[in-house]
């Protein structure tokens, strides 16, 4: 399987994505510089974390207009699998591929720590290897993870099972204490209506191997590969 990892000026989690997909999970990775046209023949596209364009103006606001994004939008519109992690999620929001915006964390702090998220929907191309309600420990590292959208859109994405991850306690309770950034409804990750585009603030690429003490993130990558072609999925 060939996975494209887009690199914007200021992306810094692109190599972690490459390491997980290529070295840990044995798939082919193509690093795609933001000025390139998105290559054809990709099975999935990852938009990694980091500080594209220094978060100038608004996080992800300038990266969404990078030349490669025309191809990413086209790929997504054709049903291609796209995952945006952290800054990648912010870019997908600014690009309109996912609804809503990210605001500054209510604490105003950059928060870098392990958090717990509950899998709200395990019947997706990104969570089919998870159980519904499963609690995953995944690290976050962001200052702008406070997800917001208007009440009508929120109602819509909830009704349509597009909320995929919510911040929770270790026991899976969705509480305000478990919400690190003030995110609306504890939302940590959402999917588009078509089910092929996911954005999540936590970093699954930072916890995908046992050697690092936590391989919860592996489930998300394995789910993606499973949804692409069952026969080619590496053994978990």
């Amino acid at each position: 399987m060939k996975i494209g990892v887009v690199v914007f000026p200021g992306s810094n989690c692109d190599h972690d994505c490459q390491h997980v997909v290529q070295d840990v999970l044995g798939q082919t990775v193509e690093m795609v510089w933001h000025k390139q046209t998105l290559p054809s023949g990709l099975d999935a596209v990852l938009l990694p974390g980091g500080f594209s364009y220094g978060d100038y103006l608004r996080t992800g606001a300038i990266a969404r207009f990078s030349p490669v994004m025309a191809g990413v939008k086209e790929f997504a519109n054709q049903g291609g699998l796209v995952m945006g992690i952290c800054n990648g999620f912010q870019i997908l929001l600014e690009a309109g591929l996912l609804p809503g915006v990210m605001l500054r964390n209510t604490s105003l702090n950059f928060i870098c720590k392990d958090v717990y998220v509950k899998v709200e929907n395990a019947a997706t191309r990104f969570t089919n290897r998870c159980q519904s309600g499963q609690v995953l420990k995944i690290p976050i590292a962001h200052a702008d993870g406070n997800y917001y959208t208007d009440p009508v859109t929120l109602g819509g994405i909830k009704a349509n099972a597009q909320v995929i991850f919510r911040y929770c306690t270790t026991e899976g309770k969705v509480t305000s204490e478990a919400n690190p950034n003030g995110s609306l409804d504890n939302i940590a990750g959402i999917m588009n209506a078509g089910g092929n585009v996911l954005g999540m603030m936590p970093h699954p690429e930072r916890c995908a191997e046992v050697l690092l003490g936590n391989d919860a993130g592996r489930l998300i990558f394995l789910s993606m590969f499973e949804s692409l072609d069952t026969s080619r999925v590496p053994v978990a």
Binding site: L57, A61, I62, T106, L108, T149, G182
Partner: protein, 79 residues
């Protein structure tokens, strides 16, 4: 023509930066302040002499890039 643009959070959107500044003002002794909201001010030189064309362009720049209209609103002056 110079476009002077203000981009601010819409009413009702929580502004933690504004709140932090409000508390700081309070602790400095300015006890009668409220509703501190933080926005952005930008100046853009637009090479266009026709005022209505410059206005259309300024609006387009705001809608497309300078403001995220989900949570922000904008106003501008052209001079």
């Amino acid at each position: 023509m110079k476009a002077k643009i203000h981009v601010t959070l819409k009413q009702g959107i929580l502004d933690p930066q504004g709140k932090a500044i409000e508390h700081a003002l309070d602790s400095l002794g300015f006890k009668n302040v409220a509703n501190v909201r933080v926005g952005k001010y930008m100046e853009v030189d637009v090479d266009e002499t026709d005022r209505s064309k410059a206005e259309i362009q300024t609006k387009a720049m705001c809608e497309k890039l300078l403001a995220n209209t989900v949570v922000e609103e904008y106003r501008y002056e052209l001079g």
